[in-house]
Symmetry: C2
Subunit: 324 residues, 2 copies
Amino acid sequence: MNISDIAKLAGVSPASVSRYLNNGYLSEEKKEKIKAVIEETGYKPSTQAQTLRTGKSKLIGVIIPKIDSSSISQVVLGISSVLSENGYQILLANTFNDERKELDYIQTFNENFVDGIINLGTVSTREHAKAFKNMTVPAVVLGQNVSYASCIYHDDYNASLDLTKHVLSKGHKNIAYIGVTDKDKAVGVLRKNGFIDATSAASGVKTYVASGDFTMDNGYHNTEKLLKAHPEIDAIVCATDTIALGVVQYLNKHGLDIPGKIAVAGFGNSSGGQILTHPLTTIKFFYKECGIEGAKMLLEKLQSPETPCKSLMLGYEINEGASV
Amino acid sequence: MNISDIAKLAGVSPASVSRYLNNGYLSEEKKEKIKAVIEETGYKPSTQAQTLRTGKSKLIGVIIPKIDSSSISQVVLGISSVLSENGYQILLANTFNDERKELDYIQTFNENFVDGIINLGTVSTREHAKAFKNMTVPAVVLGQNVSYASCIYHDDYNASLDLTKHVLSKGHKNIAYIGVTDKDKAVGVLRKNGFIDATSAASGVKTYVASGDFTMDNGYHNTEKLLKAHPEIDAIVCATDTIALGVVQYLNKHGLDIPGKIAVAGFGNSSGGQILTHPLTTIKFFYKECGIEGAKMLLEKLQSPETPCKSLMLGYEINEGASV
DNA sequence: TTGTATGCGTTATCAG
DNA sequence: CTGATAACGCATACAA
């Protein structure tokens, strides 16, 4: 069932049907005719052909590292709210935190299927830079401060600095940090640096740094290791709430009081942290706003392709729970 | 940059380039030529045109109700593992639990873009039945037992029956149930029915039933209401772990001991339930397996379109935590 | 083994 | 206001 079939059934030319579907530059009489036929047949124009012809798909590719994450969910919510208002649909590509898959999807989306790309950035390698340089559709990176594309990111460094200072203000002297890979500048490097700078500015404070992936397991197992080697540890700062929850799980399991024996802090203000007997002290970033602004930035580029690259940094708040 | 440009640069016909890209029915000499030009130019064939021409996109549309969910994440992981092995990519469509959006995406995907659809079902209305009947690509529904498509679902009723029996076995006599909309047969109706049948078979047990959405807030606020009206309640069974975590949050906040004062149970075996001081007693469903089997079912239909409809039910396990 | 020609379903141009 | 026709980029039947 294609446009010509409809045209025949309605006794008009394919061009008229196309006009009906688009501008509607058409006599009332024919409009009626065509409308009737389309409703009867349930005809839907082929998006493939439309896209091939117009070069526009009204689809935005959003690349995310994992789906089971409240922060990412909020970013996507923000993106979705703006884009659907403007007639775009979202195609989500989940990389399962696999750098290769991320590049694959960037490639797949690029030149194909989508009118624009939003990438919730994790790592930024030379290959990423290259991929974005070669990009023919507008793209925005969220969560990382990159030079090769417009981006929106959080003030990870200062957030970490402040969070750590808050922990220090409670008198803790042996503070551990559980982070993630340095390949992730925002979450891996900047948050760690904030921790290091805050603690080294304090006197009489010893620190212990560990690292792993974005999972509760990371928190659980690193806590186990850290405490076995350094039972004097009295506070643990984690690069994400998810990791912090793993820490909490370990501490609960071993009857170590939070924050009496050991304080715990994280980043992300996830709902999971708030169910605890002692709600998690955590950094609240503006994830939904990040999505909203990112989508707006992309729309702007879609409308005027010559828009220059921008980078926007968003602030943060400390959510003081009872875990510190 | 299209196939003819490449052909010209390589001094061959467009057909030869096409052959190079596909079968490779071609002399070594020309292969070399074409390969060189493609690498030099970074040429990528247009997926749009390929799809228009072949009718195949190698893309599977997966429609999910929310992304911030560990169960859904696991299903998607299962789907992804099977499909990517077979050269398919996944396009995720998130409906934010909006029934209208779900139908929209079914429509959008149908006849367009994708070679097949996997729908993580929530509600099943007459419109859903109609949409699936009109579907021109193979489709599989996950999580709901529907008649209009192949499906894979969980044994929600018996899981709920067993879970409730387990709660009863601990001597609780005033048991509340916090569920979700009856529009969702699997989670809304069957789990509730299991609860009702188990409790009404027991003697001297009073029950209290509330309902809301798939959020922690549902658990939190309904617990508040229930306990204010019925302070004698000594156990709360929830249709999902997320709801149960909201219950836990309320109980923790008000210093009500779990399970001493009130027992809590849920469904889904989410990691969030396991961080608690008293890990959540919950039903473990086989989500990843559900995704795997669903993807296999779809592949089968893709390969032989005349495959008849199937429905497959998966079992469950009780994960006995310390919350009951 | 290779090239030419055609058509997938649509929209845009242009003449009427 | 309307219809014929070309073109988007590719894959394939057919001819060579």
